[in-house]
Symmetry: C2
Subunit: 319 residues, 2 copies
């Protein structure tokens, strides 16, 4: 049951294999999936929420089929599944399993946070296993989970323990991509770290040290938005062994150049996420039946855009 490999090492291996430091976010909002898929599924099940959930799963499978050979990771934003209820979570689980069967790593973007036995229950759901009727069951069994660290180490420790036991990872929110993140995260503290985001970054670094793999990177990473290059630069300097999960590229306005401060000199240390701009790349094309073509092209465009920026910055590790 216990895997010996380290999540950070596995992630870097997959990034190198596909020569692509990007993540595609499956923010698969039912409202925005192609109409023909919705039509195919309408009335398929008695419960309309099940029909909608299975339509989303179908869409996700096609997205994964379009990108699995060129993109190392998918990020599944759970809110779009929770808004479909229990069947939505079933679609979530099926999507995760399907992505893994295609050789992709799965990040659950759920920003969970709690303490003690409650935190452990979340960890059971996403990273570990639940014991019922004398059996151990995997629930979502993703590779990695996003976590909100406002509660301190007690809100992180159960996840970290399961990261060690099950060879998983977490990314803790440090500097989020939204403009209004300044309201709290950029407030100056009296600590030597400076602003709140730097304080959180230093905590994440400390918490993650025991999970450093043979790559030199830790399985406890940080969420750092592409929309604040200066803050990313400060964090990169302060936490060299943490991998950054970088939202904010694409639809939120961050450019490939903006993501550069998130990388280390070795060309590693960041995975850049794009969601809507990839999975809904077919919108406005009036060609829904061929949506996979647009999705793959958008994923390739993103890869090339990032590689160009890395090359320009002289930190690309691939030829």
């Amino acid at each position: 049951m216990v895997l010996k490999s380290n999540f950070a090492d596995r992630l870097i291996c997959e990034i190198d294999k596909k020569q692509n430091p990007s993540v595609v976010g499956l923010d698969s909002n039912f409202a925005k999936i192609p109409q023909f898929i919705k039509d195919d599924f309408e009335g398929s099940y008695e419960d309309k929420l099940k029909s909608a959930s299975m339509a989303v799963y179908e869409f996700n499978k096609k997205i994964i089929d379009s990108i699995y050979d060129i993109v190392p990771c998918v990020k599944l934003q759970i809110a779009y599944y929770e808004e479909l209820g229990g069947y939505g979570l079933e679609a979530y689980k099926k999507t995760s399993d399907y992505a893994k069967s295609r050789g992709m790593l799965v990040i659950a973007d759920a920003k969970r946070n709690d303490i003690g036995t409650t935190c452990k229950a979340y960890s059971n759901a996403f990273l570990g296993e639940t014991e019922i009727f004398g059996m151990k069951k995997k629930i979502f069994d993703v590779d990695c989970l996003t976590v909100n660290g406002y509660l301190g180490f007690e809100g992180v420790e159960p996840f970290i323990n399961d990261c060690q036991t099950f060879s998983k990872g977490i990314f803790i929110l440090v500097k989020t991509s939204n403009k209004g993140s300044e309201e709290f995260q950029c407030v100056d503290t009296v600590t030597p770290y400076g602003k709140n985001y730097m304080l959180m970054g230093n905590l994440v670094k400390k918490w993650g040290e025991p999970l450093t793999g043979s790559s030199g990177y830790s399985s406890v990473g940080a969420v750092v938005g592409a929309t604040f290059p200066e803050e990313a630069h400060n964090l990169r300097a302060a936490m060299p062994t943490s991998i950054f999960l970088v939202p904010g590229y694409g639809a939120q306005g961050g450019t490939a150049d903006d993501t550069l401060p998130c990388f280390n000199k070795d060309g590693l240390g960041a995975i850049v996420n794009s969601s809507r701009k990839i999975i809904f790349a077919f919108q406005g094309k009036n060609d829904d039946r061929n949506f996979q073509t647009y999705v793959r092209q958008a994923a390739l465009d993103m890869k090339n855009d990032l590689i160009s920026a890395l090359k320009k910055g002289k930190i690309c590790r691939w030829k």
Copy 2:
């Protein structure tokens, strides 16, 4: 569809009706429910996770039956349902519906947080509604949700909008009950507010002002632990119109006296939660079949304990 009443006003009305400012937390960890219920449900469904989820729902119904006439609110900690997967979420929804059918208010303790359309999707799931196939569907439809405010107002606004549209409430984490909350929440800032928890408290106050009801209290409240009476005192002074959801009483070591700083002089402004000490009050009694008796007694003991403290503090509003 749009309700005109204010959540804070409804909550205070229910507290007054039952003369009890307490909340019972349905942290219904499958491992800890009575063995005879597990035995009754083992093998009931092909999927063991469904059997476990329906056993939890059965347990919850009996808990609610034991306390609905004396306790105004239940708090459903979603982690214990997520660790059972999609069926667990079905049990969550059924429990929420059952509690409402018994006249109780339901707080979803999920500490959700995200921005923009993602935050709106969470809000659809818990407070509002999801549109599929041209229909609007309620998903969990609880009365109130806990939220983590680390992302700033953009992580709160979609919830607030739905609070106004659907007559719902939120409680935002300010000072949590765990000892280690000091690590981040008690760090001094350079703002006039002082420590991080005071900064967050003042943000919550500002965000909540437009949702103030005729009671003078806002539907945007704060989570403030009973385990830090001094910090609670500071917050109470800074945010007089916010209702505090108070964890940490009971199993976590907070006493009724410790909760007093969370109340205002009018004897309102706080609802005190206890979870394990109430719902698992039967443990160690060797009398599982009568677990409801112990649960009801524990809920009554808590009510009396709080009322005694309020009377001693000369702020009890009931005779």
